[in-house]
């Protein structure tokens, strides 16, 4: 998915009534004890030291005084949510907003561990194909009605239903038994999802998978109230009922969503808050306007979601403020090559172009505090990124030699295409100059309006012989698993492999790794070997990984900043600005 960090908006462990010292201390609310205790291991966000604590799961008490705090959160990239229906939402800001209203069976914590949410526990069959979830007892929707396994089954089935028309279900949930036929309209029921009783949900997979729970974690796995959806009409999502920390208070079209606390939220309602305003900033100027609004005190949180971090020009002004947070994220910008036509069907030409780029200069140009050079496919933090890969680092002499060996005719017209947004022109114009200096090749740049670019990529995939020669692209993790980066990008003919890179050995390695569940170490090793092949043959030419960054006012408490988004371990600890 196009850097839709949506999936990556790793929602947190609301179990943990933890307050990390770094985010301004706020004592946990006095609450009563639940039936059982759960032990959870909690690790601090990347830049902090690890701590392990025993956390008590607590239920919220009604607040003595209703909250008077307002948290105003700028979401960039769109002017207006297209929907709040988790089966249909796709834009990162909307995915974030839906995640505050709805929740699924499970969730990820700040360390990307799968932890309980709507399900209090689950078991996996010995063949790793059958998952049995126990829905949390006493789990209630925001309207007070009980949540049943029937609701969960209904929701997951609905995400795959071709009559509903969402695009994401078929992508994230395709490994469920019968999902392909059902979503293609060839079958009218989804075999793999069954409510065994009011509390028990069984999901059967087609193939064993090490990453199914990550896929289930996406919004297409959220639990909706069957009653709410079936009785609410076409626009039921304007009065949504979910199991998340908030309910929709008011939808001011083309401005903001006003969320108010869900008193029935199982992990503790955000009861210091009166409301959270999710304010939308669309268009090219959106991020700049959001930063201006932040600087005039109109919003409390800016940045880190979707494709619009703090504009790079703003970073030098704000990077020394205590409000500024920055961390590596699972996003890589790269050049893709068309492997079916000259000149980039020749591996030596691709290698020459890769070796001729001095990334240290690129990093200087884009700002050392904003990006990190990337010589491989996997960004740091994704499993298997800890295994070594030898990248192609800058070597102008070798580059020229390779180009000469490839018998590359300097008169060949080389065109690189890109979509016009953000810093893209800056990056491409830099590369153009590097190739001219270090290879003596004059590259033509073809900037294209975003949708035109997207269309040309599709055309390149469908008819590579008539397609683009090379293109500047980006990938953001859908879920933190190497399969999403290696197999889904460069295996022969997969949907994201626009340039038709193909290597039989690579395919063999990833095909085995994708279904390996018994031996995680062997699985990662196979991905690592595949990655090395793709890096050496320049299936991708990785350039850099941009940091996630955000501005959070110092009076805001309870938010934890990570490269994967802002995480809220405990909503009861969140304070905004008094109103």
């Amino acid at each position: 998915m196009f850097i839709n960090k949506s999936s990556l908006v790793l929602r947190v462990l609301p179990l943990a009534a933890i307050v990390l010292a770094a985010c301004g201390a706020q004592p946990p609310q006095a609450t009563q004890l639940p039936p059982q205790q759960v032990t959870v291991e909690v690790t601090a966000p990347p830049q902090q030291i690890e701590v392990t604590r025993v956390v008590e799961v607590e239920k919220p008490a009604a607040p003595a005084v209703p909250g008077n705090q307002v948290l105003r959160w700028a979401l960039e990239g769109i002017n207006e949510p297209s929907t709040l229906d988790p089966a249909k939402a796709g834009d990162a800001p909307v995915v974030f907003a839906t995640g505050l209203i709805f929740r699924g069976l499970i969730q990820l914590d700040a360390q990307l561990h799968v932890v309980p949410d709507g399900a209090e526990s689950w078991t996996v069959s010995s063949d790793t194909k059958v998952y049995t979830f126990k829905i949390r007892k006493d789990l209630k929707f925001s309207d007070g009605s009980p949540v049943t396994a029937e609701d969960a089954a209904f929701s997951i089935t609905r995400s795959l239903d071709p009559k509903i028309g969402g695009g994401n279900g078929g992508y994230y949930l395709s490994n469920i038994l019968g999902a392909e036929d059902f979503s293609a309209g060839k079958s009218d029921k989804l075999d793999g999802v069954k409510a065994l009783d009011a509390q028990t949900l069984e999901i059967t997979l087609k193939n064993p998978s090490a990453y199914f729970l990550y896929q289930l974690n996406f919004i297409t796995g959220y639990i909706l109230s069957k009653k709410n959806v079936t009785e609410g009409g076409e626009k039921w999502y304007e009065k949504p009922v979910g199991t998340g920390p908030f309910v929709l208070g008011e939808w001011q079209h083309n401005q903001k969503l006003v969320l108010t606390p869900n008193a029935n939220y199982w992990a503790g309602a955000p009861n210091q808050l009166k409301q959270v305003d999710l304010i939308f900033y669309g268009g090219d100027q959106g991020s700049t306007t959001a930063c201006n609004d932040y600087q005039t005190g109109a919003v409390d949180v800016v940045g880190s979601f979707g494709q619009n971090p703090i504009p790079s020009q703003f970073v030098p002004q704000v990077k020394d403020l205590p409000d500024y947070h920055s961390a590596p994220q699972f996003v890589v910008r790269y050049l893709g090559f068309n492997n079916k036509i000259a000149p980039f069907n020749d591996v030596k030409v691709r290698q020459a172009f890769a070796l001729a780029i001095d990334k240290s200069k690129l990093i200087k140009l884009l700002g050392e505090s904003s990006v990190r050079a990337q010589d491989r496919i996997l960004p740091g933090g994704i499993p298997a990124s800890e295994l070594k890969v030898d990248g192609l680092s800058f070597d102008a002499v070798k580059a020229k030699t390779l180009l000469a060996e490839a018998k590359f005719d300097p008169a060949t017209k080389v065109t690189i295409s890109y979509g016009t947004e953000g810093d893209n022109a800056k990056v491409l114009e830099f590369l153009q100059q590097e190739w001219k200096q270090n290879l003596g090749v004059e590259v033509t740049l073809e900037p294209l309006e975003l949708q035109t670019f997207s269309q040309k990529l599709t055309d390149t995939y469908n008819k590579p012989e008539e397609g683009l020669q090379a293109y500047y692209s980006v990938w953001g993790a859908d879920y933190p698993d190497p399969q999403n980066w290696i197999s889904q990008q460069l295996r022969t003919d997969v949907g994201n492999n626009n340039g038709h890179y193909s290597n039989a050995e690579f395919d063999k390695l990833v095909d085995a790794a994708d279904v390996e569940v018994k031996d995680p170490a062997a699985r990662l090793k196979a991905y690592n070997q595949a990655e090395q092949i793709a890096v050496t043959e320049v299936g991708w030419l990785p350039l850099f990984s941009p940091n996630a960054n955000a501005l959070v006012k110092s009076y805001v408490t309870g938010l934890v900043f990570t490269g994967q988004g802002i995480i809220v371990p405990d909503w009861t600890a969140v304070r905004g600005v008094a109103q």
Partner: protein
């Protein structure tokens, strides 16, 4: 020329315009710095001996870029306004003078072009012709595309101005007089109506220049206009605007050039007006 000499302001404007053209055309021979060279150790620099006008956010020399940028902007502005004056004013004149079916066709066509989503049209033109015409002659093709697109959406306003004025002029007594004396339509148009329109056409075309320079930059984003290493005044302003709080001078120089251009063209146009 004689008229200009009597009007010192217009004369000064002419000299400024000439100087700008010289700056754009001959400048690169005097200030021999590669406008595409990125000096990553000198990003967003303020003016210095090395870079007289400073550098942009890629460390490129702003003076060198201003010269090549001015060239592109001047070319596009002249091309668009020439089309505007010839086609827009011509059609407006015909519509206003002859009325009837001619007026209907011209006016309704203008109405449609007014309402048409220009961005969508630009996207289409860029996609259809971008890789054929756009790659012609070292960037000249793209300039042709951008000028064509701007001219296409620009002429209706000129046509309506001229039509409105012609409607009024047509009914003046002296025109009726000429007609009664047997003057042909062409003669009336050329001798009585056209001279009275010059002023409006000049003002409208002049005012349009600023819009054209900025729109060119917008269309450049859609891939229609001059592409790197070329640049234009509008593109320089758009790019530099992003980091205005870090270095305001980089927005200032191209904006200054644009304002001086518009002022000079206006004063020159003013001077050309018939002062009886």
């Amino acid at each position: 020329m004689r008229r200009l000499k009597k009007n010192p302001v217009a004369f000064a404007a002419l000299i400024v315009l000439a100087a700008m053209c010289v700056f754009a055309v001959l400048g690169p021979w005097l200030h021999r710095v590669d406008p595409a060279l990125q000096d990553v150790d000198n990003l967003r620099a303020f003016p210095s001996a090395l870079h007289p006008l400073g550098t942009d956010d890629r460390g490129r020399d702003t003076l060198a870029r201003l010269m090549i940028g001015l060239r592109v902007s001047l070319l596009v502005a002249v091309a668009v306004e020439a089309f505007n004056v010839v086609v827009g004013a011509g059609l407006g004149l015909a519509a206003g003078y002859f009325g009837g079916a001619v007026d209907f066709v011209v006016s309704r066509l203008a109405d449609m072009l007014f309402a048409f989503p220009g961005i969508l049209l630009a996207i289409l033109i860029s996609a259809v012709f971008g890789s054929s015409i756009g790659t012609l002659g070292d960037g000249a093709g793209r300039l042709l595309l951008v000028s064509g697109s701007l001219a296409l959406v620009g002429w209706p306003l000129m046509a309506r101005y001229v039509r409105g004025q012609t409607l009024a002029l047509r009914e003046r007594p002296w025109i009726d007089g000429s007609r009664a004396l047997g003057a042909s339509d062409v003669a009336i148009l050329l001798r009585h109506i056209l001279p009275n329109l010059g002023n409006l056409v000049i003002v409208s075309a002049t005012l349009d220049v600023a819009g054209v320079v900025v729109s060119e930059a917008t269309l450049g984003l859609l891939g229609l206009s001059a592409q790197p290493p070329q640049t234009s005044l509008g593109k320089m302003i758009v790019e530099a605007f992003g980091y205005i709080t870090l270095n305001w001078t980089q927005v200032f120089w191209p904006s200054l050039a644009l304002s001086v251009l518009v002022l000079a063209v206006s004063f020159l146009g003013d001077g050309l007006r018939e002062k009886v």
